[in-house]
């Protein structure tokens, strides 16, 4: 029964489906949660789901990491995973954490100034002051 996912196409579809369920759950959380803390957490998870989707779709059972170890002697796309998506995701993870730290800084400062961090009570902007 372990051969059921032997074809990588089926595995890719399962990975894609699950990752997009996580993505959808997280985006739904962004829309319904009112706490800024949970909103940014949900964004972070949605981003991570996209990363998993991207890396997962480049995986295949016969492929190895794009690093020359003892067993391997040359770079060959037939036995190695595509390195570019990994480099892209590496970059994007760092960007994600940078944005997250800045966002949480703003949330903390906002909380210190107003005493709450609920998005539906943020009403300091608008027409009449």
């Amino acid at each position: 029964m372990f051969d059921a996912f032997g074809s990588s196409a089926l595995l890719h579809q399962a990975i894609t489906l699950l990752c997009f369920i996580i993505f959808g759950v997280a985006l739904f959380g962004v829309l319904v949660k009112k706490n800024l803390f949970n909103i940014f957490l949900a964004f972070s998870i949605a981003e991570a789901a996209l990363f998993l989707f991207f890396i997962g779709n480049h995986y295949a059972a016969q492929l190895q990491a794009p690093i020359l170890f003892e067993g391997l002697s040359r770079f060959d796309p037939a036995v190695m995973v595509d390195p570019l998506p990994q480099a892209m995701i590496l970059t994007t993870i760092v960007i994600g954490i940078a944005v997250l730290a800045l966002a949480l800084t703003f949330v903390i400062r906002y909380y210190k100034l107003t005493g709450h961090m609920r998005i539906d009570e943020m009403d300091e902007l608008g027409e009449d002051r």
Binding site: V30, F43, F54, N57, I95, L102, V107, Y110, L113, E124
Partner: protein, 465 residues
């Protein structure tokens, strides 16, 4: 001359900041003037193509052609003007870092031809915009910045999704190469990719349905920052959106959809501006209105209309910068930006600047704004899009109504304060208005530049491999 200097020089200036932390305002002016000079010296060597790292056709490529050169010059000019304006206010570290990075982000956005690289510059410009919004460090600023971060996170999420889907289906990132292979993708997947790219760039370019946040952000930030947002940020995203649209040869129905979005943006923004009484919100909505017209004009993918739209981008950016900088002077004095402050001061020069820039924004004859709007209208008429002509004329009446309401505010009120305006600021604002007047009286050279730019933008400017 390498195109990478537009990115590397500001970064070097930023990273060396601890060495001259007392003179950041002077460094900022010098840096921006240097970049402006560099941009101007590129005029004779267009188009320029530069590959980063390897000489492969699919490596990261920086391209400077007529259209992006026009925008790059505009951006460096506006950055120089804004940094000159801030020269009087002394050393401001946060403003220096955030505005310099904004410059890096927008120049990278229009120069780069690699989609993932565009994403990086997209993030750079977004983060500097968040920092610029939170510059005042009060409740309003943090509230605005948090809202901006939430919509910005949505935008970057969908842009990332679009890029991933493109790489997963055709395996390239260079936008010229994507244009070549885009037809190989299954049509439904094509639609999905276009939709995610549209959501990503549309949110940031402040298009209808995705722009509910814009007025709040402008209101939360300083007026001088508003000039950067309105002149640089939204324009660069709009440029990338349409660059991709033209390159990918989207179907006529999708172009029509973009035009419809543009028209809706225009109508909704002008009505909101009419209802508003907060001057920063009014200018924000008026920026949205101009973006609507530009989107409408660009969506016809017609040489003459695109040239007119580029002209409108240029004149609108200069006029809005002048307006926002004048408003910043008022805001620094009165600590408020409600439109009633217009009745509380007496300063003939400043009032004249606001009136003249407002007239150019509206498109009144001796100014450059008139030439731009007229060529958009004649272009639409030559395509027999009389509905669009009627719409623009009709809604412009609303624009006229609220701008005149704002300007007549000068004549009301008693017990006016005399407002002192420094000579340097008078020179700066006067220069901008003279620029508008000059290009309004002699529009030919600018129109020719815009036509050449539109031709290269519509021609798809495929990079020779």
């Amino acid at each position: 001359m390498s195109l990478l200097y537009f990115v590397l020089l500001p970064l070097l200036a930023l990273f060396l900041m601890p060495l001259y932390r007392k003179h950041l305002h002077i460094i900022s002016v010098m840096l921006n003037l240097t970049l402006l000079t560099l941009a101007l010296t590129c005029t004779h060597t267009l188009p320029m193509v530069e590959r980063v790292a390897v000489d492969l056709p699919f490596a990261i490529t920086f391209v400077l052609e007529r259209a992006s050169w026009l925008l790059l010059t505009l951006f460096t000019l506006i950055m120089s003007l804004v940094s000159l304006y801030h020269l009087r206010y002394g050393n401001d570290k946060a403003l220096f870092v955030a505005s310099t990075m904004l410059g890096v982000g927008v120049s990278g956005l229009i120069l780069s031809h690699d989609l993932f690289n565009i994403y990086i510059f997209f993030e750079i410009s977004s983060i500097s915009a968040y920092l610029l919004t939170a510059l005042n460090q009060d409740v309003k600023a943090y509230g605005g910045a948090i809202r901006y971060m939430i919509v910005g996170a949505f935008a970057s999420l969908f842009l990332l999704l679009g890029i991933m889907l493109i790489y997963l289906s055709i395996g390239v990132l260079d936008i010229g190469a994507i244009a070549e292979r885009f037809g190989l993708i299954e049509p439904r997947l094509q639609f999905l990719i276009l939709l995610s790219l549209f959501i990503g760039f549309g949110i940031k370019a402040e298009l209808f349905g995705l722009n509910f946040w814009v007025a709040d952000i402008y209101q939360a930030s300083r007026s001088s920052v508003g000039s950067l947002f309105s002149a640089l940020l939204s324009k660069s995203y709009l440029f990338v959106l349409f660059h991709l649209t033209y390159l990918l040869h989207v179907s006529p129905s999708q172009l029509f959809f973009l035009g419809l979005i543009g028209a809706l943006t225009f109508v909704a923004a002008e009505f909101s501006a009419f209802k508003s009484h907060e001057s920063k919100r009014i200018f924000a909505f008026s920026t949205l209105g101009q973006i609507g017209i530009i989107t409408l004009a660009l969506s016809y993918a017609d040489a003459m209309l695109s040239a007119a739209a580029l002209m409108l981008i240029l004149t609108h950016a200069v006029a809005k910068t002048a307006l926002f900088l004048a408003l910043d002077l008022l805001e620094r004095h009165f600590h408020s930006s409600h439109s009633t402050i217009f009745a509380r001061f007496h300063a003939p020069f400043l009032m004249g600047i606001i009136a003249l820039a407002g007239l150019s924004l509206l498109g009144i004859p001796p100014f450059a704004g008139f030439v731009a709007k007229l060529s958009i209208l004649t272009g639409l008429a030559s395509l027999e899009a009389y509905g669009a002509v009627a719409l623009i004329l009709l809604i412009s009446l609303i624009e006229a109504a609220y701008l005149f309401r704002l300007l007549t505010g000068f004549r009301q009120g008693t017990g006016k304060e005399r407002l002192y305006v420094a000579w340097s600021h008078k020179l700066l604002l006067g220069f901008m208005v003279l620029l508008l007047l000059g290009f309004g009286l002699m529009p030919e050279p600018l129109l020719q530049l815009c036509q050449a730019a539109a031709a290269s933008m519509l021609g798809g400017n495929h990079v020779p491999l």
